[in-house]
Amino acid sequence: MKIVVAGKGGVGKTTVSGTLARALARAGHDVLALDADTNPMLGVSLGVGPEETDLLVAVRQGLETGETEHERSTEGFVERFGRDAPDGVRLVVASRIDRPNPGCMCCGVSPEGLLNELESDGKIIIGDLEAGIGTVLRLQEGQADVVVIVAQPTAKSLNIARRAVEMAAEKSARTIVVANRVRDDEDLAVIREAVGDCEMIVVPDDEAIARADREGVAAIDVDPDSPGVRAIIELADRLAAMAVPA
């Protein structure tokens, strides 16, 4: 099963992706977390640590200077440009910050292309996409089974979420809105108004998640029972119910 996570920058895509990946892994699934953001940060939310997360980027940037050999196969790519994260999640960084160098798997393929190349084989692949709307726009029909759109109660985030929901629906993927950082009824009402009757999970504004962001650790390690983390675990349960057992 392939799940992609989209939304405006800073709304919590990476926190949702990372927590989701860990929760699904804890539930016994084989999880590949694909960091498809050009500013890759998924490692932080998975609990790999900030400096370790930056090292993964450095490896890919090293291609530029010739310090790193290019890679031509998907398997080799996952092996060489990935690393293990807690609970058995495999993390792969798909994007480079700067220019691509077509002709090999590690540089030439777009995150969307990589999503196509990767075989599910009973695995759950979670793609943390680049901020914005282009990624959902470019998504091909059948490329993802579920599109998770993270939104927070701000006009800017909802402008993007509203359009992303429309676009995802056209691609006949199951679309789930994560209403993130909700503090009160008014917060929830503005999100509901923007995304209509789309399936939704409400993630309350959460001190444990804020602390995780500050400390550079995984929210699920700070407090797996905090209201926000529990809501994301509930999302994991819903998704797991869709997955074909390996």
Binding site: M41, G132, K156, M167, E186, R214, G216
Partner: protein, 255 residues
């Protein structure tokens, strides 16, 4: 004064840029705000109307070889005169255009025109006294692709989270790789304690120019999608950005 505002998504780049632009305009400067983000952000924070179609689409044409260029007779000054739109307090806003369902292709002319305009701003004599303030999209990518060639100075907007700090460090590295003389100062946003700013400053090793506190006024302005300066002009965040405007105005940038 020519500044690019950079940082992670959601750090507050647009809120800082927009209010800085308007406050500098109120201090008597002519201000050109540059919006190279295909997502709406700066215009909402400025309280400016966004045209449905990117005005700059009219400014560029394709040569027979398939290359984009500004149409004959259109230089950076004319492009600003004709295609920038009015924002509150007399700020002029030149925008790349917004992505909609039709995808990026419909604004290809605008993107190319914008890129060419910003690369020729340094030769535009009549804009020499203007404040030029660019709000870049999230992350390091546009910095890597030279989307802020006009910038004499980068304002890093960072919140006290690791993701935001790492992003800022990547941007600094990319910008320094582009040009050795790039200078930076740090705006720590959404600060809840003195320790927050100190921690970010220590991590990045960049001079701190402003700290902006977490502010309910920002929260409610962002929810409503209106300009903070109109919504909560007396908020602590606005006061902090006013002090930033004053520091920049007197050229008090520590380098």
């Amino acid at each position: 004064m020519r500044i690019a505002v950079v940082g992670k998504g959601g750090a507050g780049k647009s809120v800082v840029s927009a209010n800085l632009a308007r406050l500098l305009a109120r201090r008597g400067h002519r201000v050109l705000a540059l919006d190279s983000d295909t997502l709406p952000g700066l215009s909402i924070s400025l309280g400016a109307e966004v045209p449905e179609e990117a005005p700059l689409n009219d400014a560029a044409e394709r040569t027979e070889q398939g290359r984009w260029r500004l149409k004959p007779g259109i230089g950076p000054v004319r492009a600003v005169q004709r295609y920038a739109t009015d924002a509150p307090d007399g700020v002029r806003l030149l925008a790349i255009g917004k992505t909609d369902k039709r995808g990026l292709a419909v604004n290809r002319a605008s993107h190319n025109a914008f890129y060419e305009v910003i690369h020729r701003l340094d030769r535009a004599a009549s804009l020499r006294d203007w404040v030029i303030l660019g709000d870049l999209p999230a992350g390091a990518r546009q910095t890597a692709f030279d989307w802020a060639p006009y910038a004499e100075h980068f304002l890093l907007v960072v919140e006290p989270t690791w993701q935001s700090m790492l992003t800022a460090r990547r941007i600094v590295r990319v910008a320094r790789g582009q040009r050795e003389d790039a200078t930076f100062s740090l705006v720590v946003n959404k600060v809840t304690s003195d320790e927050d700013a100190a921690r970010v400053q220590e991590f990045l090793g960049v001079p701190l120019i402003a700290t902006v506190p977490v502010d309910e006024g920002v929260r409610s302005a962002e929810r409503a999608g209106v300009a903070l300066l109109d919504h909560a002009p007396d908020s602590a965040a606005i006061r902090a950005i006013e002090r930033l405007a004053e520091k920049l105005d007197v050229g008090n940038i520590e380098r």
